[in-house]
């Protein structure tokens, strides 16, 4: 089965990004396809490469980056939600005249159309949030 995943709450504050990670890992292990994970609302904050959690805690962003690398999962961060919250890739930082960017490897910034497209192209869309 093709499964799309939407994450709509922020990392560490909320379990959504952790539960989604466990879910996607299990789905892939069971032979399902997870072509894309879409990050919306505070979920976009998962994609910051500047997060430095204590060493004895899980690193949520690095978990996702590894998943993208190992399984080719397309990690898409909503551009409108990201820009409100100070999440910029190198291109957007330049375009907006900002002096830094913070999107981690494996994530890409794109539009809400990618969420709709995921809903159209997958058999199930599973939301992790409140």
């Amino acid at each position: 089965m093709k499964i799309g995943v939407l994450i709509s709450e922020g990392p560490y504050t909320h379990q959504a990004a952790d539960s989604a990670y466990k879910f996607v890992t299990a789905a892939l292990a069971a032979g399902h396809e997870v072509p894309r994970v879409f990050f919306y609302h505070d979920g976009v904050n998962v994609a910051t490469r500047l997060s430095v959690p204590p060493q004895d805690e899980r690193h949520i962003q690095q978990n996702w980056t590894a998943l993208a690398k190992d399984h080719g999962v397309d990690l898409v961060v909503c551009i409108a939600a990201a820009q409100r919250r100070g999440m910029l890739d190198a291109n957007e930082a330049e375009r907006q005249g900002k002096d830094a960017n913070n999107i981690a490897e494996g994530f890409r910034i794109s539009g809400l159309g990618q969420l709709i497209e995921m809903g159209i192209q997958t058999d199930r869309l599973v939301t992790f949030g409140d």
Partner: protein
């Protein structure tokens, strides 16, 4: 066309206080361009999103309620509002804004897009949907 899916956007929260309602509307507006079957459900505090006379001057947040009227222009004609949620909050249909759309199957007659329905009907709409996005 077989690749048209039934998208249902469930709006459960008050328009202000959190960003869910505003960012939900942004998804609906983008989604309207994809020529899918679109419906919105307003339940719980979500019914406040469609109330008349919203004024956000005191909280320094943009009043986005006029944007709902644009949904009709995007051929979104199914805004289902749960009657029980309205009643539980002391509201009625008269407290809601008007959202009109032009029915292309009826010589472009202007018709209301907001439909006040029962909790049981909302349940049927959810069961019938292919993709449910809940905000």
């Amino acid at each position: 066309m077989s690749d048209v899916k039934k998208f249902l956007y469930v709006n459960r929260r008050a328009p202000y206080g959190t960003i869910y309602a505003l960012e939900s509307l942004e998804v609906v507006l983008i989604g309207a361009a994809f020529e899918q079957d679109v419906a919105l459900a307003f339940v719980d505090d979500g019914v406040f999103q469609l109330t008349k006379g919203q004024n956000t001057d005191g909280i320094g947040v943009k009043n986005f309620s006029p944007t709902f009227r644009a949904l009709g222009d995007y051929d979104v004609s199914k805004l289902f509002v749960e009657r029980e949620s309205l009643e539980e909050r002391g509201l009625s249909e008269d407290d809601l804004i008007e959202v009109m759309y032009e029915d292309e199957d009826d010589d472009w007659a202007e018709k209301p897009a907001i439909h006040v329905v029962s909790r049981a009907e909302i349940s049927d709409v959810m069961a019938d949907a292919d993709v449910v996005l809940s905000f």
